[in-house]
Symmetry: C2
DNA sequence: GTAATTTGTATCGGGCACCTATGTAATTAG
DNA sequence: CTAATTACATAGGTGCCCGATACAAATTAC
């Protein structure tokens, strides 16, 4: 729990992450799935039906942002909004059959751009990057 | 050079990166330094004076985005715009003494939030994440 | 049982950061 | 010298996200 990481090193990582995500965005200029929508789908695929507020806490983002993202996903047929039987105020967001399982085609298009780039690394290096992603998820979402 | 990375694994990484950057942004709600500005400073610190167009290619982003970012950085006193002696159309963006060397205090604030989080990992895991960042940079900017 | 508070979501308005398209000035090609 | 190109600035527009507020349902107080 000590300061094992210098600010200089952290700054380099931060810049690398920003630049890398921009590179991906440029590679797929028409994603038709904004970042929030992508993360919402991923959370639903992982945890099953979730309520709006829970999704917002986990992403993390504001509740209105989730409401808007779910509305878009719903009109795209990727999720369904069900009343929560236990609480009349709440909404259960459920991933639909067309997007569950293999996740949506759109999400895979973005992931494909990433997979292509990782494929240019050696298999060992690619695994290192994926492992680092899992470590970052632990920092974001300590289940 | 073959497809050593599955789309599922790439999708997990993509979602992790998005969520992690959001977590950082939430931890430092008033950065006073937008992502583009941060990357511009980092590039100048690494490569020395650069022209607007070169910065845009490297980030990557559009040229007007760099022009705006440099204008903000200039009014904050973090960079200087010098005419290019070799080309009257061009601008050389130079990092100022106050931000060069230790990079700007603002950038360090964001990096600090990241360093804190990485510090909760084991030193070995933190090193893995930093190494992965270097690998990603190779993919973004193959010097 | 009624009133007051709390909780979950929707809506409204706004802002920031980025883009494309275009304009202007300097350079290069012929 | 003229035309085409290049480097940057500016204008206009859009996407994506947030805070504040409104509303409905549930919970708590009495």
């Amino acid at each position: 729990m000590t300061a094992a990481v210098s600010e200089e090193a952290a700054l380099e990582l931060l810049v690398s992450l920003h630049r890398f995500l921009r590179t991906l965005r440029k590679a797929r200029p028409d994603p038709r799935l904004q970042p929030t929508q992508l993360v919402v789908l991923a959370l639903l695929a992982q945890y099953g039906p979730l309520r709006i507020g829970v999704i917002a806490d986990r992403i993390p983002c504001s509740q209105p942002t989730v409401t808007a993202a779910v509305a878009s996903l719903e009109s795209a047929g990727l999720v369904r909004r069900e009343p929560d039987p236990a609480d009349g105020r709440a909404i259960r967001v459920v991933i639909t059959e067309s997007s569950s399982g293999t996740m949506s085609t759109v999400a895979h298009s973005q992931a494909g751009a990433l997979a292509e780039r990782l494929g240019t690394l050696s298999p060992q290096d690619a695994q290192k990057v994926l492992e680092a992603g899992r470590l970052l998820r632990r920092l974001t979402d300590p289940d």
